[in-house]
Amino acid sequence: MSAIPISWYLVLSAVLFGLGVVAFVFKRNVITIFMSIELMLNAVNLAFVAFARARNALDGLVFVFFVIVVAAAEAAVGLAIVIMLAQHRESLNVERVNLLKL
């Protein structure tokens, strides 16, 4: 079995992460932004798993579990915020959420 070199995983992870960043910065819909955050988290997870496999160690996998737990919690809180936002502003456009702006 020819192993896929670790660099491939890392490149994929970097591409996914980059896509997440770009989406986060350029998208206006708060749901999309939320999704792009998930994308970045999972890109990092992929890197962790790849390293864990390459080094035959478990600590990378432990990190992944933590990230998944935190992402779940974040999704719970974040989606609640999104719902409140939608109720109050009747819009999901982040550019309209600017009360703290100078």
């Binding site: 982040v94 703290l100 702006k101």
Partner: protein, 668 residues
């Protein structure tokens, strides 16, 4: 040995009085404030008397008795203990200060009875006693300096006691600032003493200087610097200008601080440092010259003053000059003797003048008094006694002490024409003293009343004011009789008492050194001096001061009783001289033009407008402006738009990653 082991008690008593009155006196009635203030000083006097009694039982090798209480500061070889000492000189000062201080406290309870800030006055007065006693009991220069500056502070507070009056507040500031000029010299002198002797302790310094020969130039520098401090504190030329203005303070303050005690601190200090001064002949000559010239100079100003307290102020400056003259010719004991008798009679003169002012309802101009003899007899008689004492009329205290000074100067003038001139100045000054003092008495108490009898309710002062006057009058007569046996060929007991202080570390007699240098001269038995024409002449001059004093008295009598119009005619015909004296030689104006105004100009135009407003404010305001402007630029980043924040985060993360890669790459 009860109190000798606890010398600090003498200091603690007035300090406690000051603290209690200062903290709680405001709510207490006058009687309680009186008890605390007078009580603490009286106890201090009793403690001092007991200390002296115990001191007299000490063996000569136990003197000076030093009490070390705690180590105050240590820095390398610099070591200062809070240490007090008692020797014969301290004994004289201790008794004089506490006794005169006690009388003046009692007098003040009457004089200040109707003044606001009663508790404040007594608190300051007690504080002054504390610092003055610290000054005279100090066993090293640093503790002495604490007392020295402390009395200056109290002097400032008490001159400006009526601080709502601008002239009083100004006079307080003037006194403080002018004495500070002298104190600069004093401070440098102390540092120089430490640099040379590696100690500030009196005993160590004196032992050192008497055992190891030191360069005369260094000793001269030290002595001149220390004497600069004395010039400021004791109001000698050219720093005397603050003392006449200090008369703005309440009269008991003038009596206690500006006549009897504080201003004599300079004389005390010079006498205390006698082992150094005696080895610096040039400094001694400077002391003598400053003293004699001041004695004469301020006596001439006193001739024409019209304010009763101003006359006494210039007289004080003049008498302090005599004390320095005595120290300058090496007659320290005579200087201290005059210091003590002066404390009695000048304290009395001020208190009596206060009683006159009290009787006249605040009037201080002698030309608006007159004929008060029958109206206030106690004041009159006591003031007359003090005047006879200061004029040097035989039998009174001032005669013995002033005569001792002029006698010492006369003896020292043998073969030294400079000192002869100083002696002459002293003698003429004595005549002037007699004249202006009797002028004061004649103008105030004799002749016809020159005040509105219906307006001024002339009345004798209450008992608590007149009794101190009477006690001081007694001392003004008998306080000098320690020296009386000398007149009939005996010994001067005062000088004998003090002699251990002034002879223990004295340099070897100059006579012997001359013999060593010039062996051709035959040996001279002690106590014998060669007869010469000059010596004969000097011997003949012994009685001159008394004759001059009587002449002064007669002149005053003739000018102000016999033909009272003459002074006015003379003032007219000698108008220039009269105005010169009346305006005090324009010294205040000269100082204002030469020092004060240039200083103010530099302060305003350079230090204020350029340095302060330009440089200091520029730096402070510039810092604030940089912070404000960079802040207003940076806050543009705080857009509230989280996508722009995210962009910054990305840029930052990328930037750090790149940096990290570069650094790691560089390390490899």
């Amino acid at each position: 040995m009860l109190l000798l082991d606890h010398l600090w008690i003498i200091l603690a008593l007035p300090l406690a009085g000051a603290a209690i009155n200062g903290l709680f006196g405001k709510r207490w009635p006058q009687s309680v404030v009186n008890s605390v203030a007078v009580g603490s000083v009286s106890l201090a006097f009793l403690a001092a008397a007991e200390t002296v009694r115990e001191f007299c039982a000490l063996a000569p090798d136990q003197i000076p008795f030093v009490g070390n209480y705690f180590t105050w500061m240590v820095a390398g070889p610099f070591r200062v203990n809070f240490a007090l000492q008692v020797d014969q000189l301290t004994v004289v000062m201790l008794l004089t200060v506490t006794f005169v201080g006690m009388l003046i406290h009692i007098y003040s309870t009457g004089y200040m009875a109707h003044e606001g800030g009663y508790y404040r006055f007594f608190s300051y007065l007690n504080l002054f006693m504390f610092f003055m006693l610290t000054l005279v009991m100090a066993a090293n220069l640093i503790v002495m300096f604490v007392g020295w500056e402390g009395v200056g502070l109290c002097s400032y507070l008490l001159i400006g006691f009526w601080f709502l009056k601008k002239s009083a507040a100004d006079a307080g500031k003037k006194a403080f600032i002018v004495t500070r000029i002298g104190d600069l010299g004093f401070t440098v002198g102390i540092l120089l003493v430490f640099a040379v002797f590696q100690s500030v302790d009196f005993g160590t310094i004196f032992r050192d200087v008497s055992q190891n020969p030191r360069s005369e130039a260094v000793l001269t520098a030290i002595c001149i610097l220390l004497f600069t401090g004395a010039i400021g504190k004791s109001a000698q030329l050219p720093l005397y200008v603050w003392l006449p203005d200090a008369m703005e303070g309440p009269t008991p303050v003038s009596a206690l601080i500006h006549a009897a005690t504080m201003v004599t601190a300079g004389v005390y200090m010079v006498a205390r440092m006698n082992p150094l001064f005696s080895r610096a002949p040039v400094a001694m000559l400077v002391v003598a010259i400053v003293g004699a010239v001041t004695a004469f100079y301020s006596a001439t100003i006193g001739l024409v003053q019209t304010d009763i307290k101003k006359v006494l102020a210039y007289s004080t400056v003049s008498q302090l000059g005599y004390m320095f003259l005595a120290c300058g010719v090496g007659a320290y004991a005579a200087g201290i003797f005059h210091l003590m008798t002066h404390a009695f009679f000048k304290g009395l003169l001020f208190l009596a003048a206060g009683s006159v002012i009290h009787a006249m309802g605040g009037e201080q101009d002698m030309f608006k008094m007159g004929g008060l003899r029958e109206r206030i007899p106690v004041t009159y008689w006591t003031m007359l006694i003090a005047t006879l004492a200061i004029a040097g009329i035989p039998g009174f205290a001032g005669f013995f002490s002033k005569d001792a000074i002029l006698e010492a100067a006369r003896v020292a003038s043998h073969g030294n024409s400079t000192i002869f001139i100083l002696w002459l100045l002293g003698v003429v000054g004595a005549g002037l003293t007699s004249f202006y003092m009797f002028r004061l008495v004649f103008l105030t108490f004799f002749g016809k009343p020159r005040y509105d009898e219906h307006k001024a309710h002339v009345h004798e002062s209450p008992k608590n004011m007149t009794v101190p006057l009477m006690i001081l009058a007694f001392l003004s007569i008998f306080g000098g009789w320690f020296a009386a046996p000398k007149l009939i060929g005996g010994i001067d007991h005062f000088e004998k008492f003090l002699s251990p202080v002034f002879s223990a570390y004295a340099p070897r007699v100059a006579q012997e050194e001359i013999r060593v240098v010039n062996p051709a001269l035959p040996p001279v038995p002690p106590g014998y001096s060669e007869p010469s024409a000059g010596m004969e002449l000097l011997k003949a001059l012994t009685g001159v001061p008394v004759i001059v004093a009587v002449l002064g008295l007669l002149a005053a009598w003739w000018l102000y009783i016999k033909s009272p119009d003459t002074p006015k005619r003379w003032a007219q015909s000698l108008r220039g001289l009269y105005l010169l004296l009346l305006n005090k030689y324009y010294v205040d104006e000269i100082y204002a033009a030469l020092i004060v105004r240039p200083l103010l100009w530099i302060s305003t135009n350079v230090l204020w407008h350029v340095v302060d407003e330009g440089a200091i404010d520029g730096v402070v305001n510039g810092t604030a402006r940089v912070a404000r402007e960079s802040g207003s630029e940076l806050r543009q980043l705080q857009s509230g738009n989280e996508r722009s924040y995210a962009t910054w985060v990305v840029i930052g993360a990328v930037g750090f990653t790149v940096l990290l890669l570069v650094l790691l790459g560089g390390m490899r």
